[in-house]
Symmetry: C2
Subunit: 295 residues, 2 copies
């Protein structure tokens, strides 16, 4: 049975990007030491989640891709012999920024990038201000451990990109994330939210017969400009197999390195027994490319 050990780094982010990055790298080293051939980081892991407010000063935090971070994490990928999925605030051009995942192969080279396609804009998640919608499409990134269907956070609520990734050959779905609770929400609502976040992604694994990995940040971060209560990031990073079964899941309240062993033959077996791809009614799906109804 061919196996791939994978790791998710679930970290808190402090105010110092340099200290965060050092901690990120130490988390990656630990996952790799424990055998991970693929390590996934949370969304925008080098900084606090600045999208809680709209402020042009935060554009100073953006960087070129490829650039200093891909070089630094690339060296680490090579040192550890592991494929890394990192998440950067990309400055593509003056006035043009993206929320970008980068896949570094174990050679240290950039295997591919993915610019977040579905951009949220909700109280405390003002991402439409910071990030232009990606023009990456949903094309898995080929690496030495398989084809990674890399998406980012808000994408994870959508069945379409997961399906498109699978139809383009993804072996696994990968979601760097930054999602949490409003501290004032009542307990039942918090439970429904976190459960729906896990469940909808498990659904993508099931519908497509491939595993899913979601790495989330954890811990409370105040709104840097005030004006709201801040976000209590709910952690719960997880790996699910290609029947949606949870293989590993982190706690919601502490830093963790989540390790899991993926059975690389499972998709072949599961898709034979549950041949969903065979029966798609592509003649009847046209309205999926419309906003609503038949218009």
């Amino acid at each position: 049975m061919k196996k791939l050990v994978v790791g998710l780094v679930q970290h808190k982010a402090g105010e110092s990007m340099e200290a965060n990055t050092d901690k990120n790298m130490e988390g990656i080293r630990e996952a790799a030491r424990r055998g991970a051939g693929l390590v996934v980081m949370p969304e925008l892991h080098r900084s606090r989640y600045f999208c809680q407010s709209e402020d042009a000063r935060f554009f100073d935090w953006a960087e070129a891709v490829p650039g200093p971070s891909t070089e630094r994490f690339g060296r680490l990928a090579k040192d550890m012999g592991a494929v890394l999925v990192i998440s950067l605030f990309e400055k593509r051009a003056t006035g043009l920024y993206h929320n970008t995942a980068v896949v570094l192969d174990r050679t240290g080279e950039v295997a591919g990038t993915y610019r977040k396609m579905h951009i949220p804009d909700d109280p405390q998640y003002y991402e439409k201000y910071y990030f232009a919608p990606g023009d990456s499409q949903f094309r898995p990134i080929a690496t030495s451990v398989g084809k990674l269907g890399v998406m980012v956070c808000w994408d994870q609520w959508y069945p379409e990109p997961a399906r498109l990734s699978a139809l383009h050959g993804a072996d696994v779905l990968v979601y760097p994330s930054a999602i949490g609770w409003e501290p004032a929400d009542e307990a039942g609502e918090k439970e429904r939210q976190i459960d729906s976040w896990v469940t909808v992604q498990r659904g993508h694994a099931i519908a497509n017969g491939i595993p899913v990995m979601a790495a989330n940040r954890v811990g409370f971060e105040p709104n840097p400009l005030g004006g709201s209560e801040g976000i209590d990031f709910w952690g719960s990073s997880f790996v699910a197999g290609c029947q949606g079964e949870i293989i590993s899941r982190a706690a919601s309240d502490r830093e963790e390195i989540v390790m899991a062993e993926l059975d690389l033959g499972a998709s072949e077996r599961v898709r034979r027994v549950w041949p969903f791809l065979r029966d798609r009614r592509i003649d009847a799906y046209t309205d999926l490319v419309r906003r609503y109804g038949g218009q």
Copy 2:
């Protein structure tokens, strides 16, 4: 808070279609007496699940729609003042059969029909032999209790029809089902299968912000022609709310009338907080209408 009480009739099917139908109707009466304004039946509830084998004799069991069953269940719908979703083996023309769900409004009239679009064909589920693929598209059926996004069984594994139903205005997703275990499967595999069945449908509720109702048959049915072990239908009919939360779920081993109260204002609230429909990247979904890759 506007509420709708709904019911699912989880029944075993015996050899007599007449006795099954009587029991179906008694189940509907009970659900309606307990307050249900909408009652959903399992797939092909009037008979045993004959698709375990391919045999032309079973075409004798098919009937016209509208026809004797829509008339009989229509009268019941009117008597009980409830909307019914029933599931029939339809003879549309000589040599042309469908697996058809019929929605009967509380007036007793046919509100609409849905001919199963995704047809499975797997050992013990030889449906491609019996049923022509439906040409219904995915258009919710308007009733006095709301617009019902009616699909049937195998459809439930696909995110596309659920999404299309939502984009065409469905207030709730409804799945008559007939699914079970191979008796010889080991316990872990059985658990993964039933959990994936519930989870992928909860995922549809979450991704679309509307409730889902799945009515399944229950109990062991031998293969009528022998040659296989039969199917142990796993019941577990359930109702989930528009955050995917389970409201009611039946056991996997006995007949039950599953009752649930749907909060008809929940979708409005949930879709405001989780505005997935706003951010769909319809410019990037074109390959969803292709079989695989970009071809």
